[in-house]
């Protein structure tokens, strides 16, 4: 349909951004106050409305236990995972265990699933565009880190659905950035996208052949981001304060929140001008009731050594990506920086040193991903596709075998969509079901891989042991999402599939969430 608009949403750990394509060019859509990036923060207000974005971020202090941030760190994770434990120790809102080892947030007496929180951020992004255009939009491409596993991708797609969006595609953030960079350039280049976000780090190596964007390899660390840089500054401020006063500010979640905010600001300022003064008057009281102030000066000389190991960790990931692509740093024609933290001089300098060339200038690291997503959204709607994204799966797909071991079905960095079949035979007389546990990761051990769920197939012929051969097809689609189906190899009859041990939301939960999201009023206020 001509004139139909599809939006591109960069759903970030710390900030989100939304774009559309107009007259063939991608553009970021600002909200009514002219802001182009929006804190991925959701604050549940007393009157039942919900504030999202930079207004909500201001509530982290005053409405702490009802204000959710960093939800992306939790999305698609199991309750017992390391990341959930780590987040639990840091945030003032309450994380509880839901059904099937899932994560739920306890807010104002109500339990919410993580995709429901992200859905409110998406609802705000949708509202920003609708407000700007004066007409409703429903179709969207949403981005996720390249290194996201299947659980995290499915949860992101669920979030889109809950927000009332028709999610055309989930695409990888670095791939989106490459698309925005290479669109209309008619270039033949090998590029590296270095994407350091608030909570995740990705690097993708792409080859652009005019209209074809082929991802050669991708590698990442979903536990490394700008937040970790902030934490180092928090640690430094808190230790300093502890030495001079004997008080540990980290023991109090409110003080810790003040520290975190000051640390983030100091990190950014220090990056811009080489130094930053931190001043938090009245951060706490000493045991005698005396009000204490925190004063400190952060300089580049203090900051750089503090984060050097984090920076080095990103290059280990770059090494891995280049090795997978069978290239060296010198083979790269252009380096694109994505994500707010890449504004730090230490990152720019280290990246320039590693690749032996200056990163591209004139690309806004906060906006480029959503612009690429908007381009892809528009390409999917249009009758004449002008760009082709050839992406890969970031993790090997595996199945559990005996004794806690796994067997590889599809190698990481395999182009998608792709399908691989495996044959299974029944091991007992009269066996009426076959169970297959599917995982993602690079380890031969089950416990070191991410579990995607257990698929149970039934409804095939019942016969003697070894007589029934079942073909199980493992597919990774263009969203990077895994689909598994089974047929009786002899009769071609499709088996019924039940998925268990999955942390995802059930269909009925999803439908209830769609209704709840629709009924939720977004608070408008500066």
């Amino acid at each position: 349909m001509a004139g139909e608009i599809a939006i591109g949403i960069d759903l970030g750990t710390s900030y989100s951004c939304v774009s559309i394509v107009r007259d063939g060019r991608p553009q970021v859509v600002p909200n009514e106050w002219g802001e182009t990036t929006h804190a991925s923060v959701v604050s549940f207000l007393e009157d039942g409305t919900v504030a999202v974005g930079n207004a909500a971020k201001r509530n982290i202090l005053v409405n702490a236990e009802n204000t959710v941030y960093s939800a992306k760190r939790l999305i698609g994770r199991f309750f017992f995972s390391e990341e959930v434990k780590k987040t639990q120790a840091l945030v003032p809102y309450t994380i509880v265990e839901g059904p099937n080892n899932s994560v739920r947030l306890q807010i104002r007496g109500k339990q919410m699933a993580v995709p429901e929180i992200s859905a409110l951020v998406l609802k705000e992004m949708k509202a920003i565009v609708e407000n700007w255009l004066g007409e409703p939009v429903t179709k969207a491409v949403i981005t996720c880190p390249a290194y996201f596993n299947d659980n995290q991708r499915q949860a992101t797609r669920d979030a889109g659905r809950i927000a009332g969006l028709d999610v055309l595609r989930i695409i990888n953030e670095p791939t989106a950035a490459a698309l925005a960079y290479g669109f209309g350039k008619d270039a033949n280049q090998r590029i590296a996208v270095y994407d350091l976000g608030g909570g995740t780090f990705d690097v993708s190596i792409l080859e652009i052949g005019k209209d074809v964007f082929e991802v050669l390899s991708t590698a990442g660390d979903t536990y490394l981001g700008g937040d970790d840089f902030d934490d180092r500054v928090v640690h430094w401020l808190a230790e300093d304060f502890l030495r001079s006063t004997g008080l540990d500010l980290r023991q109090n979640k409110w003080c810790l929140q003040m520290l975190k905010e000051a640390a983030e600001r100091a990190k950014i300022e220090c990056g811009q001008q080489g130094w930053a003064d931190v001043s938090i008057p009245g951060i706490c009281q000493d045991p005698s009731g005396k009000v204490m102030n925190l004063e400190a000066r952060l300089t580049t000389e203090i900051f750089n050594p503090m984060v050097m190991d984090l920076v080095q960790r990103t290059f280990k990931v770059c090494d891995e990506a280049l090795q997978s692509a069978r290239l060296t740093a010198r083979d790269i024609d252009a380096v694109i920086l994505v994500g707010g933290p890449t504004r730090l001089p230490i990152i720019r300098q280290s990246v320039a040193h590693y690749f032996g060339r200056e990163p591209m200038k004139g690309i806004d690291p906060d906006q480029v991903v959503s612009m690429g997503a908007a381009l892809q959204a528009t390409a999917l709607l249009g009758a004449e596709t002008s760009t082709y994204l050839l992406d890969v799966t970031p993790l090997s797909l595996r199945i559990a075998t005996v004794g806690g071991f796994t067997e590889k079905v599809l190698e990481k960095n395999t182009p998608v969509p792709i399908e691989r079949s495996k044959f299974f035979t029944t091991s007992r007389d009269g066996q009426d079901r076959v169970k297959i546990r599917v995982l993602q990761g690079e380890s031969a051990r089950v416990e070191e891989c991410e579990s995607l769920g257990e698929f149970e197939f039934s409804g095939f012929r019942i016969a003697g042991r070894g007589e029934v051969k079942i073909e199980v097809a493992f597919e990774i689609d263009t969203n990077g999402i895994v689909n598994v189906r089974a047929v009786d190899a002899e009769t071609g009859m499709q088996a019924n599939t039940t998925i268990r041990l999955s942390s995802g939301m059930t269909e009925s939960e999803l439908q209830a969430s769609v209704a709840a999201n629709e009924a939720t009023q977004l608070a408008r206020g500066g």
Partner: protein, 182 residues
Amino acid sequence: MVPDLFTFAIEAEAVAGLLDGLDYFQVLKVDRGASLAELKAAFYRESRLYHPDRVFHVADDALKSNVHRIYKRVTEAWSVLRDDEKRRKYAADVSGPQRAQKLRWTEESETERRRAREEEIGTTPNGRKYYVAGVAALERQRFDEALRNFKAAQMYEPQNARYKEKADEAARRARGGAEPSP
């Protein structure tokens, strides 16, 4: 571009129907001797033709499903043929009497490839290590060093015919014996 789409749908249906009888070279429309660059160019060409995004907006489910099926085979073909070792084995498989069963790279192909590699350079880690070092030394014309390494490899795998053959070659060349002329 409706007429184009119509022709495309007919073509996609025909290709999807033939798909299970094609080998990967035929899927990518290249000949057996194609270079890696030619393979890649073919992968790009077929991607421009059969990438599912091209028909994303189309209402015709049969067309979508055909295109999807073809494209998944294109990525499969590329992911096998871009790997030299896999490609060699695959090309041999589809030239042999078992062609019909070997058109798609399977788990069996994977296991056989691993076994072939072990046969080629050894079954023990130490044997392989010394063998590889011996081959490297031989290339640099350091025949005594090569001989030492092949002998060491033989200690771990006394039955390995290739180790013996290479040790003999190194010994011969260390003595200054000329290569038998081809």
